[in-house]
């Protein structure tokens, strides 16, 4: 199975949201990283066929996704970043409604609904109205509906939004268990969501695909460019303006900062450390630091 993005561009008036993105995706988990406004949601909507690109096309095994119509949607699972529910529907009813929409046979739909509600930890509230659910519960229900039809292409836009740390760990396990023979694209601006489960990381910035590769390949690009430095508390503001600081904490009354950049920081007490994906993210998005 091959999902191709062929020179996808999207323009809203004078604003370019996506600028000629080309990608070829095979089975595996793809983590789409980017700051808010990078174009992640736009790209995902285009892949799902609910937003037309200004130029370019999405192809599955060589066929345009829009031309495929029902056949494409049949193998698609989608969790949008922001979506509502029918408050008067019970969780089970909502799942059965989505199952009908996805064309699942009635008995199979019931069985699958029970199974998935169990997996996402909602089986005890299956007969409760969705309107009474917390944000995290709604998000889990959203994940469950996305995989109802056992999709071959699963698009998850900010799937961990609203989930607590335990739920996020559970979610990562869940995605890993679904991943076999599927193309999963998972967009997030939370690096840890994809660091452990993504086979490939795609970094999107201002509508352009900056880079892609495995976590190892990408972190190698900033190897030797990440330092841990010890500074005085009073120097923090000065260094914050000068360097891209990934992290900071106080230890034994000393301020320890983690800096990423092409230039070695002009700090006496420093050492090169092994890079992480978060360092890479900051390397590319340091001007969006405030939004992290």
């Amino acid at each position: 199975m091959k999902l191709e993005l062929d020179r996808i561009s999207k323009q809203y008036g004078n604003k370019i949201a996506l600028d000629g993105i080309s990608l070829e995706l095979q089975e595996g988990i793809y983590g789409l990283l980017g700051a808010n406004g990078a174009g992640k949601t736009t790209l995902m909507r285009i892949i799902c066929g609910i937003l037309n690109p200004t130029a370019g096309e999405v192809k599955l095994n060589g066929t345009n996704n829009i031309e495929m119509g029902e056949d494409y949607r049949d193998i698609l699972g989608y969790l949008p970043q922001d979506f509502g529910y029918y408050p008067s529907f019970k969780a089970k009813e909502f799942m059965l409604y989505m199952a009908s929409l996805k064309g699942l046979e009635s008995n199979y739909a019931k069985m699958r609904t029970e199974e998935l509600l169990q997996i996402v930890g909602l089986s005890e509230v299956a007969n409760k109205k969705v309107g009474t659910f917390s944000g995290g519960m709604k998000q889990r229900l959203g994940i469950a509906q996305a995989v109802l039809n056992d999709p071959k292409v699963l698009i998850l836009d900010e799937p961990t939004a609203g989930l607590d740390p335990k739920e996020r760990i559970h979610f990562r396990k869940l995605i890993s268990s679904f991943a076999e023979d599927k193309i999963i694209i998972l967009s997030t601006h939370i690096v840890s969501d994809v660091e452990q489960i993504a086979d490939q990381i795609l970094i999107l910035k201002k509508g352009n695909l900056l880079t892609q590769g495995t976590v190892m390949e990408l972190t190698d690009r900033v190897r030797g460019k990440v330092w841990e430095c010890v500074i005085d508390n009073s120097e923090l503001e000065q260094f914050s303006n000068k360097y891209s600081i990934v992290n900071q904490h106080i230890q034994n009354n000393q301020m320890i900062i983690r800096v990423v950049g092409d230039d070695e920081p002009d700090i006496k007490n420093k050492k090169v450390v092994a890079p992480t994906l978060e360092d890479l993210y900051m390397y590319y998005f340091h001007e969006n630091e405030g939004r992290m």
Partner: protein, 419 residues
């Protein structure tokens, strides 16, 4: 599909909006259709006033005294009786305009109880679209050779069709059409009590409340999906651009139909329960002597309900289109309300017939049967040699509207972009 339809239907009926709007419209409908019979006032021959059921009983008693076939002979006899009243000096006085008029007590005793009966007779002798509330025409009518009641009716119809109008003159095809219809009406008319049916026919426009209420409930069918961002999920699902749209449309029509008939039955049942079901088989000509439609009181009510239902179907279709196109429930409702209520403030033109012919088809006006008015009862739409009456055109127009708008709704939702 059945499951989808059921769940789409549930989305409509289980919303709080639907609950409160339906509750309100049922209460309003009950009030609007129960209050006229309950507040009906009648005065007996001694001047004693009655209200509500008692008033209706009294009216029924007086109407039953005159009930039966209104033959030429009976009309002549009734006119003679009426004229005799003026020959008794105890009954008359000279009115302010110098004419002989009945004294109040004579009027109360001999005319008022049988007002609708005398009106039915008198109407045949007056010019079309004119009124004679004191029955002066009948008072002065020469009946030495009989009243020739049905001949007078035919003359009135002929005048109606042949006189010159500033807004619209009847074409030969229209004249033939109307003459053909009037010839089919069974003579003599059967007179009797039919207050409940008559009241329902008078209040056709009130059904607009029901239509508006239903439009409010279905306005979110598509717009609600956009507003809750469920459109992303629906449009990426296998049947999100096919079956679900059909299910939504069917659910809207099904909900609208059930809600409408519950309201319509309530609206008809209330006056009939209070005023009685008498008069179902009486011809509608007893409320307008030259009315060209061969209908009984009951069948006229059915025609009104069918017409209102067709208007509803057209409005549902329009609401669904607006819901997909405008994207918010609020803007959908604003346009709906404008379409429904703006015609209330538009008046008939004395010179522009085309305007009048359009005006009578607009939703609010379409709920008025027009059968009790000479001018509106003869509203026809010629297309070459083919002529259709206003009732047929309304039904046809709203069916076409209901059908023709749906493909646009489907297309717009299918092509909806999630921005």
């Amino acid at each position: 599909m059945k499951e989808l339809l059921g769940l789409e239907l549930k989305k409509i009926y289980s919303s709080k909006l639907t609950f409160f709007v339906m509750l309100a419209s049922l209460l309003i409908t009950s009030f609007l259709y129960a209050s006229p019979p309950l507040s009906e006032i009648a005065v007996d021959k001694n001047g004693k006033q009655y209200m509500g059921r008692q008033a209706l009983e009294l009216e029924k008693q007086y109407a039953n005294e005159m009930a039966g076939p209104l033959t030429d002979e009976k009309a002549t006899e009734s006119i003679r009786e009426f004229q005799k009243l003026f020959k008794n000096p105890d009954n008359v006085e000279i009115s302010s305009d110098g004419e002989i008029a009945l004294k109040e007590d004579a009027n109360l005793k001999y005319v008022q109880p049988y007002y609708s009966y005398y009106k039915l007779i008198n109407e045949a002798y007056i010019l079309p679209s004119t009124v004679d509330m004191t029955f002066k025409t009948m008072q002065k009518l020469d009946i030495d050779n009989g009243a020739n009641y049905y001949n007078a009716r035919s003359i009135k119809i002929s005048k109606m069709l042949n006189q010159e109008y500033e807004d619209w003159n009847f074409s030969p095809a229209e004249k033939n059409f109307w003459l053909g219809k009037t010839e089919k009406i069974q003579l003599p008319y059967e007179y009797g009590y039919c207050w409940g049916w008559d009241m329902f026919l008078k209040c056709g426009e009130l059904l607009m409340v029901v239509i508006l209420a239903i439009c409010i409930c279905i306005a979110p069918v598509f717009a609600g999906e956009y507003q809750t961002h469920m459109d992303s999920l629906i449009l990426t699902a296998k049947y999100g651009k096919s079956k679900v749209i059909i299910a939504k449309i069917l659910a809207a029509f099904l909900f609208g139909s059930i809600a409408f008939f519950i309201h319509a039955i309530l609206a008809l049942a209330l006056p009939l329960a209070i005023a009685g079901t008498d008069g179902a088989g009486l011809p509608i000509q007893i409320i307008n002597v030259i009315c060209p439609y061969k209908l009984t009181m009951m069948s006229a009510c059915v025609v009104l309900i069918i017409t209102a239902y067709m208007v509803l179907l057209g409005m549902i279709s329009l609401t669904l289109l607006l819901s997909t196109k405008l994207g918010t429930t609020f803007s959908t409702l604003i346009v709906d309300i404008l379409i429904i209520f703006v015609p209330v403030f538009l008046s008939i033109s004395e010179t522009n017939g085309i305007w009048n012919h359009i005006l009578l088809l607009l939703p609010y006006n379409a709920l008025s049967t027009g059968i009790r008015d000479d001018y509106f009862a003869y509203f026809s739409y010629p297309l070459g040699n083919m002529v259709m009456d206003v009732m047929q055109v309304r039904v046809l127009l709203y069916i076409i509207l209901a059908v023709i708008l749906l493909p646009f709704t489907v297309k717009i939702f299918k092509r909806h972009q999630v921005l």
